[in-house]
């Protein structure tokens, strides 16, 4: 396969994953502003930070308002992580690698782009937001469904999956990083209703507010939330799950090509650290430090994959 094609697949799926995560972040933000009685502009600060675009926002807007923040996260082309920017970039990459995609996967991607281009051509009215966000999740879900249902399990599949999980791990880690203070033991003892809302918003950002209850006791407990998002191997957006998938997809590539790269060692090292630590170890080390370290390793892995497989 061409190095450029592998690069295109990797980024196509990173962008589609990011679009979906941006939609989820907006959803969690909206939810939080609904459950709170007082002014909620500050909540959007957390959302913008989780998305890593607070600086760009400040360059463009005079003040933080929920209407501007939502518009910026949904459709602003100067925000590279806005849903529309991600879908644009994802679809451009799909166009570039079109010969590697099944017709179904391409069409689902193209239709997602066509639909969102129309829906997001103007500011979304607050009343329409839930429907729009739902639409984004549904359409990106259709891409994933077409991809899983029709693609051959070969190198094309592997590079696509690796892109998905590097992005997802990064997103989950960022959400945790922005909200880590909410999970700190000192604060958590308060156990006020505000904390409950904050904790739920973390889970909601990764669509895990229901499944949390299936795994842990119904009561939100900060260490359980951290455990769920970092170490739980069955939670599809946890760091451990993402790395399990990255390692297995890299493993297929290594077997098929008969060679391993620096990326393989890096990914395996991260996975074994996720498997061999308890959440107490993580909290003792310091949640913030742990996540910061994770994000930088995750970035390094991305670069090693790009070098090893001659993306550029």
């Amino acid at each position: 396969m061409l190095g450029r094609t592998a690069n295109g697949l990797y980024w196509m799926f990173r962008y589609i994953e990011r679009a979906e995560n941006s939609a989820r972040l907006i959803d969690a933000g909206l939810r939080m502003s609904l459950t709170r009685s007082e002014a909620t502009e500050d909540d959007w600060d957390g959302v913008l930070q989780s998305s890593g675009v607070r600086d760009i926002y400040d360059d463009l807007y005079p003040a933080l308002t929920s209407a501007d923040a939502i518009d910026f996260l949904l459709r602003d082309k100067s925000n590279p992580s806005s849903v529309m920017s991600c879908i644009d970039s994802g679809r451009n990459n799909a166009r570039m690698v079109r010969t590697a995609l099944t017709r179904e996967t391409w069409e689902a991607t193209n239709e997602c782009w066509l639909d969102l281009k129309a829906t997001l051509s103007r500011r979304v009215k607050p009343a329409d937001l839930p429907e729009v966000i739902d639409g984004i999740k549904r359409k990106t879900g259709l891409i994933r469904g077409a991809f899983h249902g029709t693609m051959l399990r070969n190198e094309i599949f592997n590079f696509s999956r690796i892109g998905t999980f590097i992005e997802r791990a990064d997103n989950t880690a960022r959400i945790l990083d922005v909200k880590y203070y909410v999970l700190l033991p000192a604060v958590s003892q308060v156990g006020s209703s505000i904390d409950n809302v904050q904790w739920e918003s973390i889970l909601r950002s990764v669509s895990a507010h229901r499944s949390y209850g299936w795994v842990y006791e119904a009561e939100y407990k900060p260490s359980n939330i951290a455990d769920f998002l970092i170490l739980n191997g069955r939670m599809p957006r946890s760091l451990a799950y993402c790395y399990d998938k990255i390692v297995s997809n890299l493993g297929y590539l290594a077997r098929e090509y008969g060679e391993a790269h620096a990326a393989h060692a890096t990914a395996e090292e991260t996975l074994s650290s996720l498997r061999n630590h308890s959440i107490k170890d993580v909290m003792d080390q310091g949640l913030h430090e742990y996540i910061e370290n994770f994000i930088s390793h995750n970035n390094r892995l991305g670069e090693e994959i790009s070098n090893g497989y001659r993306f550029n």
């Binding site: 396969m1 061409l2 190095g3 450029r4 592998a6 451009n92 166009r95 570039m96 079109r98 010969t99 017709r103 391409w106 069409e107 193209n110 239709e111 066509l114 190198e155 590079f159 090509y257 497989y309 001659r310």
Partner: protein
């Protein structure tokens, strides 16, 4: 069926003057008569949705908000009888053989110039003539691997070649998608009519290309399609052809010259390519030989080419055949190399470089079509009869300033084929681009791309100027 809005002189390919269907359309006409018209309109929208969903688009340069457009598809087929086709095919084959012989000659002995049949300056001063090709013979002696010969019809037995596309004829993906769409929507039509298949084109193309691998090729020839990238107007077609042929779609940035071979960067390292079907113009192919600023090409590929280690399709320097001044000499060129009169006629052409012709053209601008010799896509031309007085005056100035840059032709009364409109059907002017593959043999795909002017009375069929397309049937008879 009525013939509303038709130019009285135009020959309609579907209906005779007495409103009976012409023979090739008789089966189709019965089918059409039995159709619910509302259902056909709905089908027409369905077809548009298929095209949009699939992303069968092209880009129009210079349009702000329209980086990707659909080419309108009309669902009434253009039908050609087997007898008509055989006649056309013979003429096309003769012409394509002559084009290759002409290219080989102008880059070698130049006998046609020595014989005084074509002026030397027209060739050697031509921007499309590449001195780098002098004395070099491409693998198999084939210059134009893929040719599109544009044909217009003016009567029952009158066909003319409008232009030769020997550089990089595009549009074949529309021929294939149009057929695919028709077969999906109206399978019964293909039971009732014996339509010759076109869908094996990618297979034929791949084999045709692979059969012309360079001398330096080891093992099974590796073919790739070279595209300028996703922002090119024909990117869809490049991706489509690579996909259908099962070969890599590469960009200049994927390729490098290593150890005297052109190699592509894969996830496992660099791998050699033997045959490159390039959809990048000559000028951009090799920054070391042509435009130094080109980022689309591969530095050093011309050296690899001349050393016999890659086949480039079409060969660099074939674009000279697309020149409309050269076109005006095609009857001489065909006769010179094949020893027979051209079976297919040229449209009578005035070369504005000649003083008498220029005078005639200026005096009769309102009746003529004037084209730039290097132009394509319907850009930079004047259609005298439909142009305003002001447009003609402005064009006359351009003509006087650079007469050699223009040729003129009479306004032909192009044949019409009906299209589906809200009120039923209405005749529109059409042309035809059959696709020809050249290897050790000449293969002509039965059919091709019919382009249709969607505006009543318009003669401009180019997709960049509001034209549409039709499925083109050649019947087995």
């Amino acid at each position: 069926m009525t013939k509303k809005g038709i130019t009285p002189l135009a020959f309609d390919e579907m209906m005779n003057a007495d409103n009976s269907p012409r023979q090739p359309y008789s089966t189709y006409n019965d089918w059409y008569a039995a159709q619910d018209k509302a259902r056909l309109i709905a089908k027409s929208r369905e077809a548009e949705n298929i095209f949009r969903k699939t992303g069968i688009t092209f880009a129009v340069y210079g349009h702000a908000d329209s980086s990707e457009k659909l080419i309108p598809f009309d669902l009434i087929p253009r039908i050609i009888s087997g007898r008509e086709w055989r006649k056309l095919a013979q003429g096309i084959e003769q012409r394509v053989i002559a084009l290759n012989a002409f290219l080989d000659d102008i880059y070698h002995k130049q006998e046609i110039i020595k014989a005084g049949r074509v002026p030397r300056e027209l060739i050697e001063r031509n921007v499309a003539f590449l001195p780098q090709m002098i004395g070099f013979r491409p693998p198999g002696g084939v210059y134009t691997h893929i040719v599109g010969t544009d044909i217009v019809r003016t009567g029952e037995d009158q066909f003319y070649v409008l232009e030769d596309n020997a550089r990089t004829p595009s549009g074949v993906s529309y021929m294939l998608e149009n057929r695919e769409t028709m077969m999906q929507m109206f399978p019964e039509l293909f039971h009732q009519n014996r339509v010759r298949p076109v869908e094996n084109y990618p297979y034929l193309l791949r084999h045709s290309l692979a059969s012309l691998a360079p001398p330096g090729c080891e093992g099974k020839p590796r073919v790739a399609v070279l595209t300028p990238g996703i922002y090119n107007s024909a990117y869809y077609e490049h991706a489509f052809l690579a996909d259908m042929m099962g070969v890599e779609l590469v960009e200049g940035s994927d390729l490098r010259v290593i150890d005297g071979k052109v190699k592509m960067r894969t996830t496992r390292g660099y791998e050699a390519i033997d045959v490159l079907y390039r959809r990048v113009d000559d000028d951009y192919l090799d920054p070391l030989t042509f435009k130094p600023e080109s980022a689309l090409g591969i530095p050093g590929i011309m050296d690899v080419y001349r050393a016999g280690n890659i086949t480039i399709a079409n060969a660099p320097g074939t674009g000279i055949c697309d020149d409309k001044a050269i076109y005006s000499y095609m009857p001489e060129i065909v006769e010179f190399y094949t020893g027979r009169k051209a079976l297919l006629e040229n449209v009578p052409t005035w070369r504005c470089s000649e003083a008498d012709s220029l005078k005639y053209v200026l005096e009769n601008l309102a009746d003529l079509v004037v084209k730039e010799v290097h132009g394509s896509g319907g850009y930079g031309m004047l259609v005298g009869p439909t142009a305003s007085k002001k447009e003609r005056t402005l064009f006359a100035e351009k003509l006087k300033a650079r007469p050699a840059n223009y040729i003129a032709q009479p306004t032909l009364s192009l044949s019409t084929v009906p299209i589906l409109v809200n009120k039923g059907i209405a005749p529109r002017h059409v042309d035809l681009r059959p696709y020809v593959l050249v290897s050790d043999k000449v293969q002509i795909i039965p059919g091709g791309l019919t382009r249709v002017a969607l505006k009543a009375g318009s003669l401009v069929v180019n997709s960049s100027q509001g034209g549409g397309t039709k499925d083109t049937w050649v019947l087995e008879d």
